[in-house]
């Protein structure tokens, strides 16, 4: 059974595939990246590495994560490290996965980032695919 990291974003319980998660950290000072995709909060140093900090809530089309939130899940995508801000981190557990039931169009972004659900103590948790939360390099109109 696959291993999942349980987290909470904007009140919604979510899980990340443990294979996608490099580390769980509290990030330090974030340096702005002007004129970049809104969901990128900035850059932070993690040991001797630069990580791109992603406001996971904005990436999901929600209100931004509060400024003081420092907890993040580190994931590596295409050779780049990203720190995905989350409101809360819980446990690591194994779950049986099941496909997404039905996604109403209003939940567009959640739906696009989700790979299915798992159920923990009767509560359904969304499986978020971190690769799909990372903003892509499409050119922005500035």
């Amino acid at each position: 059974m696959p291993l999942f990291l349980i987290a909470r974003i904007a009140g919604q319980g979510v899980v990340f595939d443990a294979d996608q998660v490099d580390a769980v950290v509290d990030i330090g000072e974030v340096v702005d990246v002007p004129r970049v995709d809104l969901s990128i909060r900035g850059l932070a140093a993690l040991r001797s590495r630069v990580v791109t900090v992603v406001d996971t809530r904005l990436a999901l089309g929600l209100e931004p994560v509060a400024d003081h939130v420092r907890r993040a899940v580190i994931t590596r995508q295409d050779g780049h490290y990203y720190a995905m801000l989350v409101d809360e981190l819980d446990d690591i557990e194994t779950f049986e996965t099941s496909p997404m039931p039905h996604t109403p169009p209003a939940h567009g972004r959640w739906g696009r980032a989700a790979d299915g659900i798992v159920v923990r103590d009767g509560e359904p948790l969304l499986i978020l695919n971190l690769a799909r939360l990372v903003p892509q390099g499409s050119a922005l109109v500035c």
Binding site: P34, I40, L43, S48, V50, H80
Partner: protein, 774 residues
């Protein structure tokens, strides 16, 4: 070429070693597609490299095997035992030949043909199955090892991490009072780390020769195919370049040279018609400039037909005719970089392979390089590629905007100026801002405003050079220079086009590396290369002029084109003779103008005065002034001055009336229209007088002297010229004497002047005449 051959041998050995297992497996199961493909790839690679390295024997062998295997892959042949044996025999022979090349010994080739023939036979046992692994000589000890680039990369990134760890350690340690022993150890560590970093960087370096070695052959073949005669010259093969960079440059370079032969160099007949030598020249040069490598590919062909490119752009709906018509010449030339455009109407077998100049440019820019064209229609094309020496370490300057810091590649920076005093002005011109730096107008980009980080007026301008032109980047401060390890930023960050990468400097806070060209593009700055003037018609048309404070306290302007330079002179250099002022400059004198002699006299009481040196290309004169202010565009409406003279007219600049000086009038006054009585009189005396009269008089008169062989009645000579060895001189004249000698280095009177040394003579005369005039 030797390096390439070594590389080929090493590579083939390596693949053969890896392949031996596949061969055995294939022998057991000839229908196994995966094994077949592996062997096919091997012979295919060998074939490719052989053509390149001119190894016809290996080429023939591998070609035959490839043909047979291709037939199997297409289903045309069944991999029967005969075929398998035949292929294996050839693979073994390739190995043997390679070893022979490595050891430098000959290998009998009499049965190559038998091996090849065996391949085409179906179901016929090979007469003499070749023994596996024919070893003709002891394997030569390798002189180098092959390393995976990944390994080098990991080494490099480990190295950067080490540098950063050291930096952090140093930072932590400095927080406390440092034990000298700890400090010494830290310094030693720093030194070792720095040294190590250089070494690791060098492991990634390769001679650019690796890039150039294949060119002669390619040029020969391409030229032969097209029926052209081309001579290739290569210079600077020993320049070092990052391996990865060499790989990235390979395709663009090959493409550019093919283009040069195919589109640039004309056929011999055509060249004769144009009056060029029938053999075309291509020159490829590499040189290092700071931490950049410049590769220049220059041909003497027809150049780019810009009109044709423009027409093509219109025909292929890339731009409208109006758009093209409105483009500057440079923009139109740059259309060659547009995707899908070729100046050729027919696609040739060589260049028309879907790789256009757009791909070339994209490849080069991908590694942080630049490509520039210098098109000389009818005479050739020079393409300059500029790439950073290495992809990883970069020398930068750190600029501050608001609370944030950014790095800028040092080689893209022309200069840094503070916005302060008269040197720098910033004017809004319509929607853009123009910075005027010492008379040079540049489009300005206030970084803080552009990055939406605040609207403070910039206090420092960084003049950034881009492919299209220079511009002034307004920042709050320039903090430091720093060598940084640059890594690519996340795709979404790179997609803004504003950043060239990210780095973690000593401060421990990530820092973005700005992309100077990208910023200009995103901000929509427009350049007019060469003119350095923004795209405002009014500014473009105006004549630049220097605004200065004149000696009488008023402000005047003079067209910039007439000014050679501005310099400070000592009052002693000003010499008055007969109502005319002359300025002594080095060994000569030139007419000096001033608004009035009184103003000059009072100004010259001070330590030094400033003069404008004017030139019309031939004559020179000077104009004394109090000080230069700035360079202004001369307004179009000038009210003609009524007084005439040196004042061209009056115009208004920033609410002040300023007089414009007419340089023509100054030059007119310069030509000796001297009043006879006023010019200093030079007595040509003694036995050499005849010679002087013939040879020196014209020069002396041109410099404002009158010459006489005998003193006119009632006049005194201002200066007397005699030959050094002459005794028969008019001793009655009391004027100062300038002595001339016949020999250039004669041991005569050290004060004498060699008679043909005109400038020394004039200077000496001027000096004496001034003293005599007092």
């Amino acid at each position: 070429m030797d390096d390439l051959l070594q590389e080929f041998i090493a590579e083939t050995r390596e693949t053969l070693d890896a392949l031996s297992g596949e061969i055995v497996a294939w022998e057991a199961d000839p229908a196994d597609r995966g094994r077949l493909d592996a062997i096919f790839r091997f012979v295919h690679t060998v074939k490719g490299s052989c053509g390149f390295l001119d190894l016809p024997r290996l080429s023939r062998l591998s070609h035959a095997a490839e043909d047979a295997l291709a037939a199997v892959r297409d289903g045309g042949r069944v991999p029967d035992t005969a075929l398998v044996n035949g292929v294996l025999a050839i693979v073994d022979r390739i190995g043997a030949v390679v070893e022979a090349i490595a050891a430098g010994v000959p290998l009998d080739n009499s049965d190559d043909e038998a091996l090849i023939a065996a391949l085409s036979q179906v179901e016929m046992p090979i007469a003499a199955p070749s023994p596996r692994r024919v070893m003709t000589a002891a394997r030569a000890a390798p002189r180098s090892i092959r390393l995976n680039v990944d390994l080098l990369d990991r080494m490099m990134s480990g190295m950067s991490d080490m540098v950063l760890a050291r930096n952090e350690l140093a930072r932590r340690l400095r927080d406390d009072v440092l034990d000298p022993r700890v400090e010494a150890a830290l310094d030693r560590l720093s030194l070792t780390v720095a040294d190590m970093r250089d070494t690791v960087t060098r492991t990634r370096m390769q001679k650019v020769d690796a890039l150039f070695a294949a060119l002669p052959r390619m040029v020969r073949d391409t030229a032969a195919e097209l029926g052209k005669a081309v001579n290739l010259r290569i210079e600077g093969s020993d320049v070092d370049l990052d391996r990865e960079m060499i790989e990235m440059m390979r395709d663009p370079l090959v493409h550019i040279i093919r283009n040069a032969i195919d589109h640039g160099i004309e056929s011999p007949a055509e060249r004769r018609r144009c009056g060029k030598p029938p053999t075309g020249q291509i020159c490829v040069t590499a040189r290092q400039s700071g931490n950049q490598i410049l590769i220049e590919i220059e041909d003497d062909g027809a150049g780019i037909d810009v009109g044709r490119i423009a027409a093509k752009a219109v025909a292929s709906d890339l731009h409208s005719a109006g758009q093209v018509a409105a483009m500057s010449a440079a923009d139109r030339l740059n259309l060659v970089f547009a995707p899908g455009l070729s100046s050729r109407d027919t696609v040739s077998t060589l260049s028309g392979r879907g790789v256009g100049m757009d791909v070339v440019r994209a490849n080069i820019e991908h590694v942080g390089g630049r490509i520039a064209l210098d098109n000389r229609p009818g005479r050739g094309l020079a393409i300059t590629i500029q790439v950073p020496l290495t992809l990883s370490i970069m020398s930068t300057i750190v600029v501050a905007v608001g609370r944030q810091r950014f790095a800028l590649a040092r080689q893209s920076i022309e200069e840094i100026v503070r916005v302060r005093g008269d040197q720098v002005r910033i004017d809004p011109v319509g929607p853009v801002q123009i910075a005027t730096v010492r008379g040079r107008r540049l489009p300005m980009l206030p970084l803080g405003t552009f990055l939406r980080m605040g609207d403070d007026a910039p206090t420092t301008l960084v003049i950034v050079a881009t492919r299209d032109g220079d511009y002034a980047l307004g920042v709050d401060d320039v903090l430091d220079t720093e060598e940084v390890v640059v890594k690519p930023a996340a795709p979404a960050v790179m997609a803004t086009g504003l950043y060239a990468g990210q780095t973690l400097p000593d401060s421990g806070l990530p820092m973005l590396l700005l992309d100077g060209g990208g910023l200009a593009q995103a901000a929509g700055l427009r350049f007019d290369r060469g003119a350095d003037v923004a795209a405002t018609a009014e500014v473009q048309r105006a004549t630049p002029a220097l605004l200065f404070d004149d000696l009488d306290g008023s402000r005047r302007a003079i067209p910039l084109g007439a000014i050679d330079r501005v310099e400070k002179v000592a009052p002693g250099a000003i010499h008055r003779s007969g109502g005319q002022l002359r300025l002594i400059v080095g060994e000569t004198t030139m007419p000096l103008h001033a608004v009035s002699h009184e103003a000059l006299a009072s100004a010259a009481g001070d330590a030094t005065i400033e003069v404008l040196r004017l030139t019309d290309g031939e004559a020179e004169c000077a104009y004394a002034m109090a000080g230069a202010i700035e360079i202004i565009p001369l307004p179009a409406d000038v009210a003609p001055a009524d007084g005439g003279g040196a004042i061209l007219g009056v115009t208004v600049w920033e609410g002040q009336a300023i007089e414009i000086i007419d340089p023509l009038a100054l030059f007119m006054a310069t030509t000796p229209a001297q009043s006879e009585g006023a010019a200093p009189l030079c007595l040509l005396d003694g036995a050499g007088a005849e010679w002087m009269d013939r040879f020196l008089r014209p020069a002396l008169e041109a410099h404002g002297y009158r010459c006489a062989l005998r003193l006119p009645d009632g006049e005194a000579a201002d200066v007397r010229l005699v030959m050094d060895d002459d005794a028969s001189t008019t001793t009655l004249v009391s004027a100062p004497v300038v002595r001339l000698r016949r020999d250039r280095d004669g041991p005569a009177d050290p004060d004498s002047i060699y008679r043909y040394d005109r400038s020394a003579l004039i200077a000496a005369l001027a000096g004496h005449a001034r003293r005599g005039g007092r």
